[in-house]
């Protein structure tokens, strides 16, 4: 099935309904699968489908229509419609670019839903998290391990259920030791283990990786994250007002906090149809790019550090400092800009700041291009990064990774381009999509280098062409139970937020999926076949952000799906099969 066939059956595209084809296509191929269809914005639609059709609909949208799974999450809607709900948001990047969210209602008694992971591996983390947080059982999900909750968390306490717990509650630990089972899929017990992190010299972050090695060669790798889960989603839903959450989202990440803040603000703005002034949009765009600048410079610097080229590391950090200065100049803070309010931004760019900013951008561009020459001419750099940590295209397609990672593997995914018209001012600024074909660390570094130049251009353009007008829209009303997606292209890739407003001046549900959350699952495949010496570099080439989601562990759907599903799951699966026509 190609996009052409879609056009054959599709009704005339409706005005202001971008992506209507996909809904029509689902109706055409899976008649009566759709229970409900809701449009949030002109390019965001949520379809509620029957559980029995979920896998097929998802498969059609994902593999046949060029969909990429952006986020999978649960929601406790028992107070609204008596059910739990599981959402799979797809970024449709076929011929028509739009967002389709597939929703299934989960029976509040059986609490089971059909796992799409065996078909679309990208959903594995989302579904595991739904299991942890809502206690809903994904039938057919091969991985029985916890994702987010720690090993010593009580078995039947699911924090995000509305009736579960207060956000301040700290249950008694149920076990003394770590019980997490690490999984060596390709090797055996004769493989030795190299631990990397949480306190490794290049990976001093709350994540634990273990490399199963034969000598120096990595046979397989497994990892676990979520050691400092901050419970932000719970916090936002129970304690904070809408505007405070904008400040909270700034702190999701220490590096790309602003993109989260914009993403969150967009969800509410989309849900309530708030028009953001053009000037505010451009200010947001500029700051998003400033963030990308310092993030990419950090990562390029770290790549030098990981291969032992510390001089490069220090030099890139010297340039990065200029971009930090730029941020300080424009926002008053080096990081965590705290600029966003729902409806716009709090602080304007003054003439003087803009001039100084442009001068800084030019300085950075000059120094950076010098340093790129230095880096590429440095002995051994190429042999260290070329051909290392390859992310194969099929893995990339299956797991929906984002950012430079997927662009380096030859896919042209960049929310700024793909969904540019509905993302701040990206439709108006000049830049190109950077992508490479090889999928190795070198490609990722080169993509980042290209993006740094793009960002510099955008920042300069934005500061130069800042539209006149207000910077904040005020005086709109919060309507309960409206929801929408918000998304931004963070330095590490697309950050996706989803919010549903509540009836008490608080959010009913806020879901934040940071870029790295989508990227971690592919790491194991990139590490395989490389050596211990490459591991820090490969992990680093993801530009991983641990705090971003604070939600990272392994995803491990093997490629040979039929082999990996445990017997029990198959059993359950076949029981379900009696009642439902879904297929693997």
């Amino acid at each position: 099935m190609t996009n052409n066939t879609v056009e054959l059956y599709s009704t005339k595209p409706q005005q202001g309904r971008i992506g209507k084809q996909y809904v029509d296509g689902v109706n055409h191929f899976f008649p009566s699968a759709i229970i409900d269809e809701e449009w949030q914005t002109e390019n965001q639609v949520t379809i509620t489908v029957k559980m029995t059709a979920l896998v097929e609909v998802m498969k059609w949208l994902y593999y046949d229509q060029g969909g990429w799974l952006a986020v999978t999450f649960g929601n406790d809607e028992r107070s609204l419609n008596g059910h739990f709900a599981v959402y799979h948001s797809l970024s449709m990047e076929g011929e028509v670019k739009s967002w389709v969210t597939v929703k299934v209602l989960v029976d509040a008694d059986s609490q089971e839903f059909v796992s799409v992971t065996p078909t679309i591996p990208a959903a594995v983390w989302g579904e595991r998290e739904v299991r942890d947080m809502y206690g809903l059982h994904p039938v057919g999900l091969p991985d029985e391990r916890r994702l987010v909750l720690p090993d010593d968390w009580p078995e039947d306490l699911h924090p995000l259920r509305k009736d579960a717990m207060d956000y301040r509650q700290r249950p008694q630990p149920t076990s003394e030791t770590e019980t997490y089972q690490f999984d060596n899929q390709l090797g055996n017990d004769s493989n030795r283990i190299v631990p990397v992190g949480p306190l490794h010299i290049t990976s001093d972050e709350p994540g634990h990786f273990r490399l199963f090695v034969d000598g120096e060669d990595i046979v397989d790798a497994d990892y676990r994250m979520f050691y400092v889960h901050r419970g932000m989603e719970k916090l936002a839903e129970t304690r904070m007002g809408y505007q405070e959450v904008a400040q909270l989202t700034d702190r999701v990440c220490g590096i790309c906090g602003f993109t989260h803040s914009v993403g969150y603000s967009n969800t509410i703005e989309n849900a309530l149809s708030v028009d953001v002034p053009f000037r505010a949009k451009m200010i947001r765009t500029v700051l998003l790019e400033v963030e990308r600048l310092h993030s990419h410079l950090l990562n390029i610097g770290l790549s030098s550090h990981f291969v032992g080229f510390d001089s490069g590391f220090m030099q890139f950090f010297r340039v990065r400092e200029k971009t930090m200065e730029l941020a300080e100049l424009l926002t008053g803070a080096r990081k965590t800009y705290g600029m966003n309010l729902i409806g716009g931004v709090r602080r304007d760019f003054l003439k003087d700041q803009r001039l100084k900013g442009i001068a800084l951008v030019r300085e950075v561009r000059k120094t950076f291009s010098e340093l790129v020459d230095v880096l590429l001419a440095t002995p051994n750099i190429e042999s260290r990064i070329a051909g290392v940590g390859i992310l194969a295209k099929d893995i990339a397609r299956d797991f929906s990774p984002v950012g430079p990672l997927i662009r380096a593997s030859g896919f042209k995914r960049d929310a700024r381009i793909v969904h540019g018209q509905s993302l701040e001012s990206y439709g108006d600024v000049p830049f190109e999509l950077q992508s490479m074909e090889n999928g190795d660390v070198q490609s990722r570094v080169m993509v980042r280098i290209g993006e740094v130049f793009d960002s510099l251009n955008i920042v300069e353009y934005g500061l130069d062409h800042l539209p006149a007008g207000a910077i904040l829209t005020e005086g709109f009303d919060y309507v309960p139970n409206k929801f929408a997606l918000g998304f931004t292209e963070a330095p590490r890739g697309e950050n996706v937020h989803w919010s549903m407003t509540g009836d008490n001046q608080k959010l009913f549900r806020w879901r934040c999926r940071a870029a790295t959350y989508a990227n971690w699952p592919t790491l194991r495949y990139m590490l395989r076949g490389n050596t211990v010496a490459d591991a820090p570099l490969i992990i680093g080439s993801l530009d991983p952000c641990y705090s971003c989601t604070d939600r990272v562990t392994i995803v491990d759907t093997k490629k040979k799906r039929s082999k990996t599903i445990p017997y029990k799951a198959i059993e359950q699966y076949s029981i379900n099969r009696k009642h439902s026509p879904f297929k693997l």
Partner: protein, 182 residues
């Protein structure tokens, strides 16, 4: 290799001898919030706006004071307090060197004396706020008796005022408006 050396020689030393030498920050840098207690009316707008609950206000009836407290441990330097302050009493300074050796030093506070109720004698409102309102009234052209009356009204605590109203027969009569109209 040589390019790098060239860059290095051109750059010289990029680091500063901080903390032994000062570190400049931008003009609009959002550092530690400083309260100008002289300006502050202790109206409490900042405490309501603070997303991080770093600012609190407490009224101590016994001593007749109101305490404004800023916890640097909670402050996120967003500057919301600065934005909402009616008298520009809070400004975000350029000071970012906030490490302290004792936890208590993380707190900043200002104490404002309260005005006593002219009837019951209990403290109920910040003196400066009261003065500010009266001054504003005076400047807006309210004079003489009127001002005196307003002063008396304003110096009465809400409780007393409520009981006054209850006792005031004019207010009790439900026919008051009807009578006026007639």
């Amino acid at each position: 290799m040589f390019k790098l050396l060239k860059t290095v020689i051109k750059t010289g030393e990029a680091t500063k001898k901080y903390p032994f030498a000062p570190l400049e920050v931008c003009e609009d840098f959002r550092g530690k919030p400083e309260l100008d207690a002289e300006q502050c009316l202790s109206c409490g707008a900042c405490t309501r706006a603070c997303p991080a609950n770093a600012l609190i206000m407490e009224t101590d009836v016994k001593t007749g004071t109101r305490r404004w407290e800023l916890s640097m441990a909670r402050c996120i330097y967003c500057g919301r307090c600065e934005e909402v302050c009616p008298t520009k009493a809070i400004t975000l300074s350029q000071n970012f060197e906030l490490a302290v050796t004792r936890k208590e030093d993380l707190y900043e506070e200002a104490v404002f004396s309260l005005a006593d109720c002219c009837q019951c004698g209990r403290p109920f409102v910040a003196r400066k706020l009261l003065e500010y309102v009266l001054d504003t009234l005076a400047q807006s052209g309210v004079t003489g008796e009127q001002l005196k009356l307003r002063r008396q009204q304003l110096e009465t605590c809400p409780e007393c005022r409520r009981s006054n109203n209850m006792l005031d027969s004019e207010n009790i009569s439900h026919l008051r408006y009807l009578e006026e109209e007639l």
